[in-house]
């Protein structure tokens, strides 16, 4: 294993002593990380569902939403965190606003793809059976759009888990705090622990959502 550059003392890539004495610290970071992620994805979904449904109905709204959130998506997260500080401080809100904004783009796109993919024959049949528009949306179109929505949820969640690390620059960060600390103190262990845990977290979340999809949408296997 290559040694760090300026170390006279050997600094192993994971110092198990350090880890065993810092379990609460690491767990607290994981908890903060998970909370930030869940809030961002849940609120993103909560906003994207109605927005997506409306955008599906009105073509002009679709263009507007995709453009606005699309442009937002190209702005680096670290810049948005910095710019929001004067308004929302060094708080969870500052972290969540950009995270939610990014997720809205991903999820709205997927809601639209899902709704677009519903066959006109199905819609016709539903109309013929007497479904009114709202009921048709809730009972027919949305469920058929679920595979696409779940795919979007997986992408949004894994992406959010990565970007949450960057909120360390405004004093949050969850596992990002360990990364920042590893950088500033030239210390390997928190950095490696955080990286591994982030990857595991992402895998676990992806598995969870894919599993939920299998349950909720048995006719469409997750890819």
């Amino acid at each position: 294993m290559p040694k760090g550059l300026f170390l006279d003392v050997v600094d192993p890539w994971i110092n198990w002593d350090w880890l065993s004495t810092h379990i609460p610290y690491v767990l607290a970071a994981v908890q903060e990380h998970v909370t930030l992620t869940i809030v961002a994805v849940a609120l993103g979904l909560a906003i994207s569902l109605p927005l997506g449904i409306l955008a599906h109905r009105w073509g002009r709204l679709r263009l507007l939403i995709l453009t606005v959130f699309g442009v937002f998506y190209t702005i680096p997260s670290i810049a948005l965190f910095a710019l929001l500080i004067p308004y929302t401080g060094l708080s969870g809100t500052t972290a969540e606003i950009p995270l939610i904004g990014y997720n809205v783009l991903v999820l709205v796109r997927n809601v639209l793809v899902g709704l677009d993919s519903v066959s006109p024959d199905v819609l016709d049949a539903a109309d013929g059976m007497g479904y009114r528009p709202f009921a048709r949306m809730i009972r027919i179109e949305l469920p058929l759009a679920l595979p696409a929505i779940f795919a979007g949820l997986r992408v949004a969640t894994v992406s959010t888990i990565g970007i949450v690390t960057i909120t360390a620059v405004i004093g949050l960060g969850g596992l990002g705090q360990l990364i920042l600390r590893g950088l500033i103190e030239s210390f390997h262990s928190p950095l490696v622990v955080a990286t591994v845990l982030c990857i595991l977290l992402a895998f676990f979340a992806d598995l969870l959502i894919a599993g939920a999809q299998r349950f909720a949408v048995p006719w469409a296997r997750p890819s």
Binding site: P76, I78, A82, L83, G162, T195
Partner: protein, 235 residues
């Protein structure tokens, strides 16, 4: 003066267009980091994805590389690269290349797999041998999806390269990180807008390149899925 006016003033100040911290210098640094990472990434990823896709082997591996790749936090990769290799462009390019490879592997794998087996059969029937079949039949058909993968990687790398400033790197991220350190919001916003503009320009450029590379006959088929690169934000 509000933030937008102050940012406009910052962007139009001639002093900010000169010198080592000037916009042209930082822009060139960002572009340099991005192009090198995507190019090296493509040289590694495309052959792997294409060959795996052509033979239809190790499909799970290709998908899993992509999944692991997406799960790696880019901030962490950059810091690890810095701690192993020190200062300079090399660690940054290595980290960005690692991020660029997964989408290109997966997309090129899927692109080759999606080539209609009937077409491959017809080619074999016409007498094409393996390599010729790959190069002259399968690849042109696969170009849209492969290019979509390159586009995804490129836009992702351009955005993530901003994080290089956190490990004393250059590029447009320097404006954002310095702006945060000095609470100089016009500088931060200017940096953010420049990065966003660069990302958009990259997307448009590569979309144009994709259109140029796709054979006319395929273009007429209008495959909407490949026209829009799937995005994945890492920074």
């Amino acid at each position: 003066m509000n933030l937008f006016q102050a940012t406009w003033q910052w962007l139009t100040d001639p002093a900010h267009w000169q010198g080592i911290d000037g916009i042209p210098t930082r822009l060139v640094e960002q572009i340099h980091l991005s192009i090198e990472s995507v190019a090296i990434g493509a040289v590694i990823a495309l052959p792997i994805g294409i060959v795996l896709g052509h033979y239809g082997r190790f499909g799970n591996l290709a998908i899993n590389i992509s999944n692991v790749g997406r799960a790696v936090p880019s901030f962490a990769i950059l810091v690890i690269a810095f701690q192993v290799f020190g200062l300079g462009d090399v660690p940054i390019i290595l980290a960005l290349t690692a991020l660029a490879v997964p989408p290109m592997v997966t997309n090129s794998y899927v692109a080759l797999r999606e080539v209609d087996p009937d077409v491959k059969d017809a080619a074999r029937g016409m007498g094409y041998r393996e390599l010729a079949q790959l190069l002259r039949v399968e690849l042109p058909l696969a170009v849209p999806l492969i290019m979509a993968g390159v586009r995804t990687s490129a836009v992702q790398v351009v955005a993530t390269a901003t994080l290089a400033a956190l490990i004393a790197g250059g590029g447009l991220g320097r404006y954002i990180v310095d702006g945060l350190a000095r609470s100089d919001n016009p500088r931060t916003l200017a940096g953010a807008l420049l990065v966003a503009a660069l990302a958009l320009a990259t997307e448009l450029l590569l979309a144009g390149l994709q259109r140029a590379l796709v054979p006319r006959g395929i273009r007429l088929l209008k495959t909407p899925a490949a026209n829009r690169a799937s995005t994945f934000k890492t920074a």
